[in-house]
């Protein structure tokens, strides 16, 4: 964690993070150390009908190592706070090396209208295979990551995620704002860039990512589907990540991934393609590393 910097407290507000900056660190420590504090007694069987179909479609009879946690892990909340924005992490247990790497990962959400939310193609050049994104969640469901390693073996990790309460729904909050910014693509670097060290970056796409499955009761018209279907990230001219996705991904799709900075610096580029064949691009110059 970076050092915590706290602004001068304004007297009108007395929330803990202002009065006691240590609350940030304490809360974060709790967040990192206690992922499984809620009981998992109501977990149903993981052998769902939807998974049987997806498994047959994607992998036929190939064996899948399930839940061993030695290749890939899934980071997902016990309960979705907001059905429209559920953070999901696909975490590799080892760095990507030319000798052994994860070449593909699938993200499956059993109960969503289209269970295969994403597939990610990866290369050794990314350094690490970890991907973080955010998904929509229709209801209580198993969420799975299946990783294919370079030796052709399949490994799965899964978690049962409970749906959000309140008036939460897997829909965009501000469709007009997302449309007004449509196609804006942003990169963010998440840490110091060091040559040869896997570096975390984030690519964000402003897009309503509509499923087009909803009918407007007043106009009796369906909103046309409009969603991002592919995001391709290259570094130094080589593709390091290809994500094939759909509207299971949240409004304003967001992906965090790793790349390996090279001596002298180079460019990250993202190419985004949506369901109307619109394409958007963005480039970020990753400066000289000085190493």
């Amino acid at each position: 964690m970076p050092l915590i910097r706290v602004d001068t407290p304004r007297p009108a507000l007395r929330w803990p993070w202002r009065a006691r900056p240590a609350a940030w660190l304490a809360a974060l420590a709790v967040a990192l150390l206690l992922p499984g504090l809620a009981d998992a007694a109501d977990e149903p069987s993981a052998e769902t009908e939807q998974w049987a179909g997806v498994r047959q479609f994607l992998f036929a009879d190939r064996p899948i190592a399930d839940g061993r946690g030695d290749v890939v892990e899934l980071d997902a909340p016990f309960r979705a706070e907001d059905a429209a924005v559920v953070p999901i992490g696909l975490k590799a247990k080892a760095d990507q090396t030319p000798g052994r790497y994860i070449r593909k990962m699938w993200l499956v959400v059993d109960k969503n209208p289209t269970p295969i939310a994403a597939s990610f193609e990866l290369t050794p050049e990314s350094g690490r295979a970890d991907i973080e994104t955010r998904i929509r969640l229709e209801e209580y469901t198993w969420v799975r990551v299946i990783a294919e390693t370079s030796d052709g073996m399949l490994h799965m990790a899964r978690k049962f995620v409970r749906a959000a309460g309140g008036c939460s729904a897997p829909a965009g909050k501000d469709m007009e704002a997302a449309l007004a910014r449509l196609g804006k693509v942003k990169f963010k670097l998440e840490g110091d860039v060091q040559q040869g060290k896997p570096t975390l970056a984030q690519v964000m796409v402003s897009h309503p990512n509509n499923s087009g499955m909803q009918m407007d009761q007043v106009t009796r018209l369906y909103v046309p589907p409009h969603y991002v279907r592919r995001v391709e990230v290259a570094y130094a001219g080589k593709v390091i990540l290809t994500a094939d996705v759909d509207f299971s991904i949240s409004e304003n799709p967001n992906f965090r991934f790793y790349f390996l900075p090279q001596a002298g610096g180079s460019e990250l580029t993202a190419k985004v393609l949506d369901s109307k064949d619109l394409s958007f691009t963005s480039t970020l110059s990753v400066g000289k590393t000085g190493t």
Binding site: W15, V85, S206
Partner: protein
Amino acid sequence: MLVVSLLPTIASASPADVSEVAPGVFVHIGQVAEASAANAGDTSNWGFVVGERCVAVIDTGGSAATGSALREAVRAHTDRPVCAIVITHGHPDHLLGLAAVAEGGIAAGELAVRQLAHQRLAAAVAARTPAYRTLAQRQLGLAGPPQIIVPGERVDGEVMLDLGGRQLRLQTWKTAHTDHDLTVYDSQTRTLFAGDLLFVTHLPVVDGNLSGWLAQTPALRQLGSLRTIPGHGPVVKGDGWQAQTEYLSGLRHAVREALKQRVPLQHAVEAVPAPDGWQLTEVYHRRNVTAAYAELEWEDGD
């Protein structure tokens, strides 16, 4: 006068408790709670305003049961017909009573019943209907998913609603609590039905745009109402906006800080401490952090 119904009735036909907070302005205060079978969806506020000619209903509660109880309450307090039903926004706790209200007979009489809402409500509800039906069925313990209908008349900007000797001003807002918030103002008694643009005791919920909500709050305050009916919690006299504004601006400050420090979303929901002094914080605070994070990460213009 103001009593919260504790009866766990599913399809009550007895009138809901209302109080007349100003001449001809009747308000029901729902429970500050998540919808459940026990409270039968009576978890939001609604009201009606009686003019010389007819009555306008504002919001309908969160179930067919609340809609029926609303209908009976109108009948119990006035013999004038209902000529308008206004929905302040499309969340199920305000909307799910509409089918019962609209179809249950208070529509009877010579007047056509106008049903009005923000022009964006229909699209927003359309996008959420499957989730709302599933959620309501589970929370209310219903045998099947409830019917959801939406008002057909779309308001964009301001509309005056004439009840005979009394005019209500309907006003739409830019994205705030949701992307389709609408308020109703009775200038005769200076009473504002704020919908969920104002929460009292119930933690405010961000399902639209946090900065938009904060940006429009001064204009809401400047309407100069003597009393405001929030979407949740008791009626407030004078200015009731301070506590909500402190929470929302505190939330924005904290989430901006988390973004600045590159705290990822899944950790930010833990790291932004919950505020004191509100109810349902455990249900909504982390969700608000999530929504604020997804909004504010787009803030730095480049």
